[in-house]
Subunit: 210 residues, 2 copies
DNA sequence: TCAGTATTCAAACAGTTGTTTAAAATAAAG
DNA sequence: CTTTATTTTAAACAACTGTTTGAATACTGA
């Protein structure tokens, strides 16, 4: 009788706990013992179900990706690419800070960006590339069709690395810097800033080249 | 007879080795044994001179800062603030990737940003604030005197977090993404991009508010 | 019920790494 | 040279943590 959803299988409880701990502490700082404790399982259960910590980490990624529903960015002809970019950035930021299942994948993703383990390189590109491609297309639309591919890439990096702030800077430090409480409103205003800042950046890079 | 500079004292050899290792691997991943080995000293010497690893880390920061000569950004009335910003970003990027003594402080700084230990909070603001203030003033000049302080701060973060890419992304990954060799030319083109991208961003944020 | 399988558990084990110790070597002082 | 203080050294120690073990328990199907 572990939770509200009734008695889930130990294996899945371990995966859920692992998502939580790996996303919060990263691979190295997360302890197997703590994951088991959170899952209400014995220490040996990780070895029983996953052989070792490394395999657990890889399986956790796959599990988190299963739970993750790719948000619809409405990358259709309706809105302007500028509006789409803004939506995209807001969606990214919201995902990253989401609590619970929806946020697992995004949080693991950012944690892996911030503290790379190199353990999931195989699945990395398979899972990440689609996300990147989407952003790539949006930026290209704003810059113009014959935009230099390198320039598009650099703009991608500029945007992603601004968003990454949320993970690499401690919330308490961010609160100190901006003198504001860390909540969803702050996230929104950060997203607004990044969108506006980056939109101008992209356009400047684009115009510069024509 | 350890190096070309003759026989330096063990304490200083330890500090130099610690700069190298902490900057490369971060506090947790760097091993005391390896630092001692690089310094050509015994394992116990860290305890002898610095009591423990944590104190060594703190002393390493102070030592690195001593070695560091703040670059002159020529923040005078001569150049336009736009040109000053570009110089500043180039200087930051060059420092971060500098080999040897000059780069120690910048590399430790970025490492601490990427993987905060919280061990040097006391000296942190004392050493970092001056750098931040300098960037702050440049941005304010570009945005206009009555610029909202929060907006200036967010622009600061946007710029710093773009620069941070160089440390948080592995060089091999960057080479893969951009399909270019990681060398000083690449650094310069990255700095150019960030400067141009950010300059437009700052102006957009500034104009938006007037 | 019963046999066989799957799962859980406490305890021990093994590897790594920071720290301490006590003796040996070196340098300094008288 | 002798004595004293300083520094270096190898080895042991201790703490943490991932992994394994083998017995105990729960479950499944006949």
């Amino acid at each position: 009788m572990t939770g509200k959803t009734g008695k889930r299988k130990t294996r899945e409880r371990l995966l859920v706990a692992a998502c939580e701990m790996f996303a919060r502490d990263g691979f190295h700082n997360a302890r197997v013992a703590d994951i088991c404790c959170l899952a209400g399982a014995n220490v040996a259960s990780v070895n029983y179900y996953f052989t070792n910590k490394t395999t657990l980490y890889i399986e956790t990624w796959k599990y988190a990706f299963q739970q993750f529903e790719e948000p619809a960015f409405s990358d259709n002809a309706k809105g302007t690419p500028e509006a789409t970019l803004k939506k995209y950035i807001h969606a990214i930021m919201k995902d990253f800070t989401a609590k619970g299942r929806m946020g697992y994948f995004s949080r693991l993703y950012l944690m892996e960006l911030a503290r790379p383990t190199g353990l999931i390189q195989d699945t990395w590109r398979e899972l990440i590339e689609p996300r990147r491609q989407k952003l790539h297309h949006i930026i290209r639309k704003i810059m113009g069709k014959n935009a230099d591919n390198d320039k598009v890439l650099l703009c991608e990096l500029s945007i992603i690395n601004q968003c990454r702030t949320l993970l690499t800077i401690k919330h308490s430090d961010l609160e100190y810097l901006l003198n504001k409480k860390f909540n969803s409103d702050l996230i929104k205003s950060l997203a607004d800033h990044i969108a506006e800042f980056s939109l101008a950046g992209i356009k400047a890079i684009g115009n510069f080249n024509e």
